[in-house]
Symmetry: D2
Subunit: 112 residues, 4 copies
Amino acid sequence: MSTPLLNLTPLQAQLRAFAQARGWEPHHTPRNLLLALVGEVGELAEILQWRSDAGLATLAQDDPAEWVHLGEELADVQIYLARLADVLGVDMAAAVADKLAKNARKYPEPQA
Amino acid sequence: MSTPLLNLTPLQAQLRAFAQARGWEPHHTPRNLLLALVGEVGELAEILQWRSDAGLATLAQDDPAEWVHLGEELADVQIYLARLADVLGVDMAAAVADKLAKNARKYPEPQA
Amino acid sequence: MSTPLLNLTPLQAQLRAFAQARGWEPHHTPRNLLLALVGEVGELAEILQWRSDAGLATLAQDDPAEWVHLGEELADVQIYLARLADVLGVDMAAAVADKLAKNARKYPEPQA
Amino acid sequence: MSTPLLNLTPLQAQLRAFAQARGWEPHHTPRNLLLALVGEVGELAEILQWRSDAGLATLAQDDPAEWVHLGEELADVQIYLARLADVLGVDMAAAVADKLAKNARKYPEPQA
């Protein structure tokens, strides 16, 4: 069987169990989760705001602690995105596949 | 072998090939991709801004076209997030696993 | 009398009257307005995402229509920010003056 | 003489002098400032993410420190927006007036 292009289900199941065990489900509404996602995107922006793309390319060596921080913020965006899609009931594997197919029609590969 | 919690590699490989085939790689810098992600989060916010959580719960039935649109915007955020992490060289599977472990330490499960 | 540093009151009064005349006040809750602000910041990001700072410096001459569009998106962010502060009841003149004073203490002017 | 609807010039002049005195001007490029604005919008979202509109209406009494924090984040968004418009060379008074006129044409006042 081929590897699917994207499978968020295991992550979503773990996030759901984590929220349930802590009684957080009433707080995990779509709008709350979207605002939380916006907060995490803001933290990601704070890491990139005064850095050049060249500086980012050597961040792991130049500032290992900030490199870990960068990974955490990317992870937070991924976590809230997966949770938001789960709460909304959107099938992300299908949505991403559909969007990629649409992009391929919109931007056809240039012919040699 | 157990299913990994998250595997963005197949999606990232496809996005990289898509960008390469169209000569887009020079434009896919971290800061450009972050701004593109912010743009997609903004489009997601536009869908939710005047809707209540209750209205979102019945969106698929009430407005099927907007429901498709919602899936597209969630997909776009996922696509740019995966691409951004790939260009930065961040291992998202590890970053998400580390962040979940950190969250579990920060918010221990309440004891019965 | 000296010019105040910032006076959003006339704009806020006009936005409030505009919303009242159209029956929009029930929709202008803080969270709705913040999501609307996020949407406008996203549109601003879409204008800047593939452009360099150098390209932005000559945008007015190079692409007059996009220059007008840029002004509109900046205006939209200002409009939702003013409206959000008004609905929350935050005195923006005082908040900005306080923040500037705090910044001046945090980042003292270097001595010659 | 009538009060103008919006005048960001005094704030922009002060922000420009503050940046000049600290040698920050090379860092205050449009894209850096937009990412900084996104960071501040994220901090604003973090304040609102788990609060209801009803809870926000009594925040000043319920949590005076968080109320001050809310004002600071709104101020930060205003500061970066004013600075971004200044660096881009966009006349915000004109841009806001034009956008309000456009909104008035798009959403005419309902007739009694």
